[in-house]
């Protein structure tokens, strides 16, 4: 995947399952964080992984309010697009 390509809920779910084997689950488009019993601390830990992987910083409220993987993917995409472009050279 290139830096500019949009992420899907599947990309976020794959990242989640890789980093959180204790909570790993089959995720589809409608799977919510509540369905997987993810509390705010797990979501904050996921935000650390997303920051490292995609360079976007999401606050605890952003994570909790997203409620599901599809909305979270859309939020990550939006933040990536609004990042200032790095000057070349």
């Amino acid at each position: 995947m290139t830096d500019t390509e949009d992420l899907t809920y599947r990309d976020i779910a794959d990242t989640f399952n890789r980093h959180f084997p204790d909570f790993a689950a089959e995720v589809d488009e409608s799977t919510s964080f509540d369905d997987l019993d993810l509390d705010s601390l797990v979501l904050v830990e996921l935000s650390v992984v997303l920051l490292k992987q995609y360079g976007v910083r999401l606050a605890e409220d952003d994570m909790v309010d997203a409620r599901d993987f599809r909305t979270l993917a859309a939020l990550v995409n939006e933040r990536r697009r609004s990042r200032p472009t790095r000057a070349a050279g």
Binding site: V42, V44, E45, V48, K52, A59
Partner: protein, 338 residues
């Protein structure tokens, strides 16, 4: 340059009341599985009635002095947020009970970062020539400020004390301690707080100030990972270390998920992160020296150790240490310690 300032001995102690997750299940709306999965803690120890922070500090201090083969130091620094009394500090009584006479003795209050702050002070004392050896003790009885009905904090914290004797080693010990990188952010004071019990509450008689610990878990998590990772990078830079060269990360044992996240951000393999909170919980200022003591059997001379902490204030810090030669393994809990 003289001989390196390093660790000459370590020791740890936890009190006798053992509290398992199964014990907590009986009083709180929680389960062993939930506590283990979300925090990593399986067991914590609490003071018995009548037991206080200084009692834990004395035992840990005694073990560290014995480990160092010393009966004297020039300074005692006790890092604690739960002193025996508002006045006086805890350190003078600890020094006296350890038979150290009338040496300089004072407390440092930096909550869970307290041990690193105190170790920085101790190292400076030795480097300046003001002391030849300093006993640093991190000791806390957080059970004294816990709301037993708050499942977010009651399951995490335990009581305990850990200690280190800091002084000059020999050339064979390598470089010893590197630079300490400490920081604080008073704007975030409300993240981890016990509002009552201080001069603010006493200046407003009749107003309610909570006597229990309150912690904004999620915000603390992100702030802790940011600050610990950033201070670790500074400490590694000062020491000229790359992340892949670090043999052990001894971090404040707040939560297994925070430790794992810091390792992830720094790109240090998780296997190099010392985990001790499963056996004693989060013991605040005691957690780093307790974890170091418990891990001592696997420390080899020349190993590169990266320390980092984050706590109320907020405060944070990191430092490097090259493990010295000839320090025998020791334990906190006995043979099955590590």
């Amino acid at each position: 340059m003289g001989d390196p300032v390093t660790v000459l001995g370590i020791g740890g102690y936890v009190p006798g009341v053992r509290v398992t997750n199964a014990d907590l299940e009986r009083h709180l709306d929680t389960t062993d599985e939930w506590i283990t999965q979300r925090t990593g803690v399986r067991v914590r120890y609490r003071c018995a009635p009548g037991e206080a922070t200084s009692d834990l500090a004395v035992e840990a201090g005694r073990r560290a002095l014995r480990h160092a083969g010393r009966t004297a130091v020039d300074v005692v620094v006790v890092a604690t947020t739960t002193p025996d009394h508002p006045i006086p500090g805890t350190a003078p009584a600890v020094a006296k009970r350890l038979g150290l006479g009338t040496v300089a003795a004072f407390d440092v209050q930096a909550v869970c970062s307290g041990f690193l702050y105190a170790a920085a002070v101790a190292t400076s004392f030795v480097e300046s020539g003001s002391a030849t050896a300093v006993l640093v003790i991190g000791a806390d009885a957080f059970s004294s400020v816990l709301d037993p009905t708050d499942r977010t904090t009651a399951v995490i914290f335990g009581d305990g004390a850990g200690a280190a004797v800091i002084g000059r080693g020999t050339a064979a010990d390598g470089p010893g301690w590197g630079a300490f990188h400490l920081g604080s952010d008073g704007d975030a004071a409300d993240l981890i707080t016990v509002p009552g019990g201080g001069s603010r509450a006493r200046s407003l008689p009749g107003q309610e100030f909570g006597a229990h610990l309150r912690m904004a878990g999620g915000t603390v998590f992100q702030a802790a990972v940011d600050a610990m990772a950033s201070s670790c990078r500074s400490a590694m830079h000062s020491a000229g270390w790359y992340a892949h060269e670090v043999d052990h990360v001894v971090g404040h044992q707040a939560n297994i998920r925070i430790l794992r996240s810091v390792a992830h951000v720094l790109e240090v393999p998780e296997s190099r992160v010392v985990v001790h909170l499963d056996r004693v919980g989060n013991t605040s200022a005691a957690s780093i020296p307790l974890a170091l003591t418990a891990a001592s059997a696997r420390l080899r001379p020349g190993d590169k150790i990266l320390f980092t902490a984050f706590g109320g204030g907020t405060t944070w810090g990191a430092a490097t240490l090259v493990w010295p030669s000839r320090l025998p393994a020791t334990t906190v809990l006995g043979d099955n310690d590590d």
